[in-house]
């Protein structure tokens, strides 16, 4: 456990030393807040709250897909990674440390969105709901963490960057993150329930307001978690087999 914290600390140190990496995952959702949410939904308390929750989900998704997808793929290419495996600890603390550090960075990347939501829009949230939302963020991180790990462990870093970029935009649009609840264009309403982003954002909406989350997106979110977990485990094992067996 203590080693996990040591690995967490050094993962964070490595990331924080290149601050632009942190800024990157916070930038898109913050910019979307400023350009789309503030001018169009900013005055309406309910709409602004949902829109902020959407952007939070967006930030969670992009932070996780990018930091794991690219971070893991880059680390795999470094000789430092095999060296850490000769230290008297299994691969467990390193992986656990990576996930903990990832969660911390995810929360960091949410700060601009939340600050903009609180100061420049009419978005409102009770303290209780805010605390709940912090927990929901951790839950919602799961599928995207797994997706990032699957990408990072199965692809070289150059391919991982491209795949992460290709994946994250359709997921954001298709899941309806960039439209108000149930006001997305028709084809998105059809596709959305089957994407992990939809279940995630409905959970967020239900946490911050009284949005009735529907069963289909939540079931599909569960299916995605299981499928992505299997994919991530497969990619991790394959990588272990290639490099360490």
């Amino acid at each position: 456990m203590q080693l996990t914290l040591v690995h967490t600390r050094y993962q964070l140190l490595e990331t924080v030393r290149i601050p632009i990496a942190v800024v990157g995952s916070a930038f898109f959702p913050a910019a979307a807040m400023l350009f789309f949410v503030v001018p169009f939904a900013g005055k309406d308390a309910v709409g602004a709250t949902y829109a902020t929750a959407s952007m939070v989900t967006f930030a969670v998704m992009s932070a996780n897909i990018f930091q794991y997808g690219i971070g893991v793929a880059e680390d795999r290419a470094q000789p430092w990674d095999p060296y850490t495996r000769t230290l008297p600890a299994g691969p467990g603390p390193r992986l656990a440390g990576r996930v903990l550090a990832g969660l911390v960075l995810t929360y960091l990347s949410l700060i601009p969105v939340v600050v903009i939501g609180a100061t420049l829009t009419a978005a409102q949230i009770t303290p209780m709901a805010f605390l709940l939302a912090i927990g929901t963020v951790a839950v919602v991180s799961v599928p995207f963490t797994l997706m990032g790990l699957a990408i990072g462990y199965s692809l070289p870093s150059k391919a991982a960057i491209v795949v992460a970029q290709i994946i994250f935009f359709p997921l954001a649009f298709g899941g309806g993150l960039l439209s108000a609840p149930d006001e997305a264009p028709g084809f998105i309403e059809v596709v959305a329930p089957y994407l992990p982003t939809r279940g995630a954002v409905e959970l967020m909406w239900a946490t911050v307001g009284d949005y009735p989350a529907r069963p289909l997106p939540l079931i599909m979110l569960g299916v995605w978690v299981v499928a992505l977990a299997m994919l991530a485990v497969w990619a991790y094992r394959r990588d272990e087999g290639r490099r360490f067996s």
Binding site: L3, Y10, P79, W80, T86, P88
Partner: protein
Amino acid sequence: MILARADQVSRRYGDVLALDRVDLTVRAGEMVGLLGPNGAGKSTLMNLIVGLRRPTSGRVELFGGDPRDPAPRRQLGMTPQETGLPGTLRVGEVVDFAAAHYADPVPRDELLDRFGLTDQVRRQTGGLSGGQRRRLAVALAFVGRPRLVLLDEPTSGLDVEARRTLWDAIRAFHAEGGTVLLSSHYLEEVEALASRVVVIGHGRVLADDSVDAVRSVVGVRRVSFVADDLPALPGVVRSELIDGRNHLLTTDADQLVRDLVTAGVGFTDLEVRPTSLEEAFLAITAEEPPSGDTRGARPGDGPVTVGSRPAGDDDEPTTAASGGRPATA
């Protein structure tokens, strides 16, 4: 006390047989040099001993356990490739990180002082010179007060001064009872540090003995002289002309000199010298058959055990050198 052991270990990567039934035993207090050209299987053997990889067949033991379990690795020190240091972390942080894995690590300042890195403690590793990075990489192997240290090419590419610093640190560790297994294709390094040398070529152990014994069993001497005209001579392993001097490598210097005289070569400034380990090692590996045609037929044979065979008593040294093929076979 045996710290690390490989028992009939083979390792295959797809079609390539990187290690072929290798035996190696490292005992407490030894300083063993693992010598071989690139691709000989040195790094593969080291990766098996530290548990990064699994043997295809055979058995590897580290402190009596499986090196893939973390517990036996508590008494092991390994060095990362210097290019692998995380560039954004400071020198002190990298040391602290490795130290966090051990119960009783060497204090950071003491370790950095030993490797001449005290002034770099706040520098990011990405900003270090090549020599500083290498010293840090080697220092990490010693942070956990290990009983056994594995150093893979510890000083390749370093300038003389940086190499001396590292050699001194490695010698000091050994003098205090530490055990070292180091690989190198710097033959000077193996000669300078190790008392025992294991020569690896084509995935097999070709020789395993003292540095002197390996050199003498190969029995290659360098005969050099100045001469205008040189006829073809028997028993010459290799010949070169450097700055007007002929250098002939031979397994029988006495006979070569007799042949020179008999052939009426008007040589001057004759010198007969023992070869460097590098030359010995080139002779050994050159004798290894390029294909595996003779390997399968000799399942039980081991490496050359030089000590049991007095040097000079060996009228066909190249036979012994080629991996212990019996002269009578």
